[in-house]
């Protein structure tokens, strides 16, 4: 029996081993992904991202517990932590916060290291998510590394992206910067029992208002002023404005409300056609990445032995610029 068949039959050891093959980009992993692909496309993929220490792992733990106890869904969790840029090693510690999920056969947690990728996920995260999807998990939660401002890959993979914030992490200038906040389908203010939660929420709200102006009346130097919302194009009758959800994940507060917001987002995705758009984007991104990787590998195999090192040495000596080096290697004039 192939790995893929065993996985489809619910063999957990085969699933674990296949995930390793996919992570290592081994030939067995690639052929299994081909075999499993027709069984994919059913799971709801939820991305969870945010700065280090905002409580992503604890939140994932709570979400998974809710989906197990209340909705009896099968849950897979892919938790990504960084690899050392110097040694390639990693300490993957997300399981520490997920001990409540231990012993439940309908939960499968897999930790992975970024192995040099910079976008918040590892190169093989998408492949591993496909394996879980094919294996029949209803929900796959993807937890990124502690993200700074531009680790936005998860939004191209997930259907619903949660961006987790915590009080005291930044002012309203942080909230108008481009990047991670823009990818949020739902903003979560975790650790909402801490002081400063109102300020964090206010900054996020004002960011959302700039993106989605609404009609309002306010006092300005004693006189009443009114702004009108810009006329909405007809197609945006179904528009999603990211809600802000307060949670205290160590106590499980706000989790029910958060899962309700996630459920509303799924309804929106289905009704607006956005679900299909997102699937398309993520498959396109995956195809492009594969083409790029294959082309680079093929190119490196076809240049004469030692030529790459020679040209690289010239660049290092500053005799040739990287652009010229590229032209030499590509045999362009």
């Amino acid at each position: 029996m192939t790995y893929a068949q065993s996985v489809l039959n619910g063999d957990r050891l085969a699933l674990a081993r296949l995930l390793t093959q996919v992570e290592n980009n081994a030939p067995e992993g690639r052929s299994a992904l081909i075999e499993l692909f027709p069984s994919t496309g059913k799971a709801h993929l939820i991305g969870v991202t945010g700065a280090p220490g905002t409580g992503k792992s604890s939140l994932v733990n709570q979400l998974a517990m809710h989906y197990r106890k209340v909705e009896d869904k099968r849950i897979a969790i892919v938790a990504v932590d960084p690899s050392s840029p110097f040694t390639g090693g990693a300490v993957l510690g997300d399981r520490v916060r997920m001990r409540d999920l231990s012993g439940d056969p309908k939960v499968f947690i897999r930790s992975m290291a970024t192995r040099g990728s910079l976008g918040g996920l590892a190169q093989s995260t998408a492949g591993m998510v496909q394996v879980f999807d094919a294996a029949g998990f209803d929900i796959v939660i993807i937890e990124t590394v502690g993200a700074g401002q531009s680790e936005v890959d998860v939004a191209r993979l997930a259907h619903t992206t949660l961006v987790v914030e915590a009080p005291g992490l930044g002012d309203d200038i942080q909230a108008i910067k481009a990047g991670i906040l823009e990818i949020a389908d739902i903003l979560v203010v975790n650790k909402a029992d801490r002081p400063g939660v109102e300020n964090t929420e206010k900054a996020l709200k004002s960011m959302l208002d700039l993106a989605h102006p609404t009609e309002r009346v306010f006092q300005h130097h004693g006189s009443t002023m009114r702004t009108t919302a810009p006329a909405q194009p007809a197609s945006s009758a179904l528009m999603w404005i990211p809600p802000i959800q307060r949670t205290v994940s160590t106590e499980g507060k706000g989790i029910v409300e958060l899962t309700e917001a996630i459920a509303r987002h799924v309804v929106y995705l289905r009704q607006s056609g956005d679900w299909a758009v997102r699937e398309r984007t993520h498959l396109e991104v995956e195809l492009e990445a594969l083409i790029r990787e294959t082309l680079v590998n093929r190119f490196m195999e076809n240049i004469p032995q030692g030529m790459y090192e020679d040209v690289l040495e010239k660049v290092i000596q500053r005799n040739v610029s990287p652009w010229e080096a590229m032209k030499i290697l590509m045999k362009e004039k």
């Binding site: 090693g89 399981r95 520490v96 001990r99």
Partner: protein, 132 residues
Amino acid sequence: MTEHKIRVLVAKPGLDGHDRGAKVVARALRDAGMEVIYTGLRQTPEMIAEAALQEDVDVVGLSVLSGAHMALAPRIMELLKINGQSKVKVFIGGIIPDEDLHRLKEMGVTGVYGPGASTEDIIRDVKSAMAE
């Protein structure tokens, strides 16, 4: 390109709350280029075996300072075997009396380390066990 990293589960079974040693070892293995899955304190043998399965690790490192190693280690080895992971190498660190050392090795534990063991020795032993 295929890339295999040594994956190690570092776990603390049982009830003692001292995880300094486990963290030092986890960090040392990381610096040796391995991927270390750290599970935290007070794990039952069942939790450890389940994590070893889900993470498809090559090595399980147990830190036991409570003296319960002769009860915990065999149970974990048995569960690994039941799960089809008898090839996983088990290492134990902690307060292990000499007379237990041989019994643990007879049970199939690959390496046993007491206080003052050097992380270089642990790394060397893990790597050579993987090379077999």
